[in-house]
Amino acid sequence: MKGAGEARQRGLIAPDIDVDSLAWWEAVAQHRLLLPHCRSCDLTWFPPMPACPRCGSQETELCESTGKGSVYSWVVVNRSLSPVFAGETPYVIAAVDLEHGARLLGRLLASADNRRLRAGAPVIADFYEVQGQTLVGFRLV
């Protein structure tokens, strides 16, 4: 199984960043992974939104994440239905549960042995650049 094929030409669909997500994307550009956190009920979640999805409080903040997590599920994209990514197949998109509770989606980036991919496999978030856009992916550890 290949990783994200870092050596090859990468396509990009630029993120449609909005007011609610701007601070998160700005941190990503600095290779920092932040997660929304509720000061009222202590929930950590993803993605950013104007209020806590558990208690509705607007007393929320962005907190630094360790980026450590485990694989919840994954899909191998064998046929990209978007021409932008057609040159990169096959690639793996993983759904990762971070240790503080949020779930993120990201490319499985190349690591020593991606055949170790399985449910529960430990991963760590990493950053990669495509056409000047920083994105979050994951490496098996």
């Binding site: 669909i13 599920s73 899909v75 994209v77 046929r79 239905l81 990169e88 096959p90 990201g106």
Partner: protein
């Protein structure tokens, strides 16, 4: 997890599908979506034995602006002034829900005869499977190359396989069983016989999904005419009674229809959440209905539906399908038109149409022997709707 039931809506048992209208399903219609919508709606009204002059409501849905509004259909079809028009921006969760909304209108007297339709050039025009959806959750999917429903649903299918020990052969069982029905269905876009060897040799699209796990996109339209049971009894066809109905969007269902980041359990979908209300609204249970039409944009959603609605236990759906239980002769014939996998992706509106045609005894060579009651579902992930239909 089933939730305790709360409701029995008043339209249940008092409203019915009285007419079904279809166009051909093709790979290139060469026609406008409006033309397809008008044909399907005209056919549904005529099929019911009604005059267009008594239609007073329309309910439809679109995604990505791929359809035409009810206003356009009313104009092109020469309908009288209408009392009830809804154009929903939804996906596969809509068809059974639209029937509910039409039934609510006729039950409350807001309207008397309501058309429900879905029309799209889904193959030659805007393709739902590969077109980018807008929404606040999109920025976390598209940039990383997570761009299509085949991938989203595959992510859930993988988790289901992890949790239940199900495998590719369980997905295959669904594809094979439905292809057998499609061989009998002249309208089906894919009818070539499929063996397990063929299935396993087919290329992966989004592993765990191979080509035969995926719906076949088509151009086409499908319409239903909903009215009160009392009126339907005087019309041409035996009424398909709306005997049960439920819609449910689960807890933390996300920022848009493709955003599942806050959805906890990818191995269960909305069918588990609405089953209690659906069955109790109908007065029937999963062991009492005679067949099922389960929304199948991909094979896995049939397994989710069979388990979520309580036909089988957790992780048992693959064995159930492989045992032959979903064939014409089985205990629960399922997706008797070949499903969206084979008949074509009219976004689940054709799933409801097939349910009505079977209930009414009008399904031709694939007509089931027992067709007094069925369940039909719409949707694949966080939200969806379902109906129980019975023979009037």
């Amino acid at each position: 997890m089933s939730q305790p039931s709360r409701r029995r809506p008043s339209f249940v048992g008092r409203t019915a599908i009285a007419g079904v209208g279809l166009t051909g399903f093709t790979r290139r219609s060469g026609r406008s979506v409006l033309s397809l919508a008008v044909e399907a709606c005209r056919n549904a009204v005529e099929d019911a034995g009604l005059s267009r002059s008594v239609v007073d409501g329309i309910v439809s849905f679109s995604v990505l602006n791929d359809s035409v509004p009810g206003q356009a259909v009313a104009t092109a079809l020469g309908l009288p002034p209408l009392d009830y028009v809804l154009d929903l921006s939804l996906g596969g969760q809509a068809p059974s829900f639209m029937v509910m909304l039409a039934a609510m209108a006729v039950e409350t007297g807001v309207a008397e005869n309501v058309l429900v339709y879905r029309a799209l050039n889904g193959r030659s025009g805007v393709r739902v499977g590969s077109t980018q959806f807008a929404g606040p959750g999109a920025q976390y999917r598209y940039p990383i190359g997570f761009t299509a429903y085949s991938q989203y649903i595959a992510m859930w299918a993988r988790r289901y396989m992890i949790e239940t020990g199900s495998g590719y052969e369980d997905l295959a069982a669904v594809a094979l069983a439905q292809r057998r029905y499609a061989e009998l269905n002249e309208r089906a876009a894919v009818r070539k016989p499929l063996t397990l060897e063929d299935y396993l040799a087919a290329p992966f699209v989004a592993d765990p999904f191979r080509v035969p796990d995926c719906t076949t996109e088509v151009d086409g339209a499908c319409a239903l005419l909903i009215t009160t049971l009392e009126r339907a009894r005087d019309l041409r066809n035996p009424p398909a009674v709306i005997q049960g109905a439920a819609y449910r969007i689960g807890h933390r269902s996300g920022l848009d229809i493709g955003d599942a980041l806050l959805w906890e359990d990818y191995s269960r979908n909305y069918t588990s959440l609405l089953a209690g209300d659906l069955w109790s609204s109908s007065g029937l249970g999963p062991h009492e209905v005679q067949f099922a039409e389960i929304y199948d944009c991909f094979t896995s959603t049939v397994l989710f539906g069979l388990e979520g609605l309580g036909f089988v236990g957790r992780g048992e759906a693959g064995d159930f399908v492989r045992s032959g239980a979903t064939t014409m002769e089985g205990r629960l014939p399922t997706n008797t038109n070949g499903g969206l996998l084979c008949e074509g992706y009219v976004h689940g509106m054709n799933t409801v149409a097939e349910a009505a045609l079977q209930i009414q005894g009008r399904a031709g060579v694939r007509q089931l022997r027992k067709h007094d009651s069925c369940v039909v579902t719409s949707g694949g992930m966080m939200d969806g709707s379902a109906l129980v239909l019975t023979r009037g």
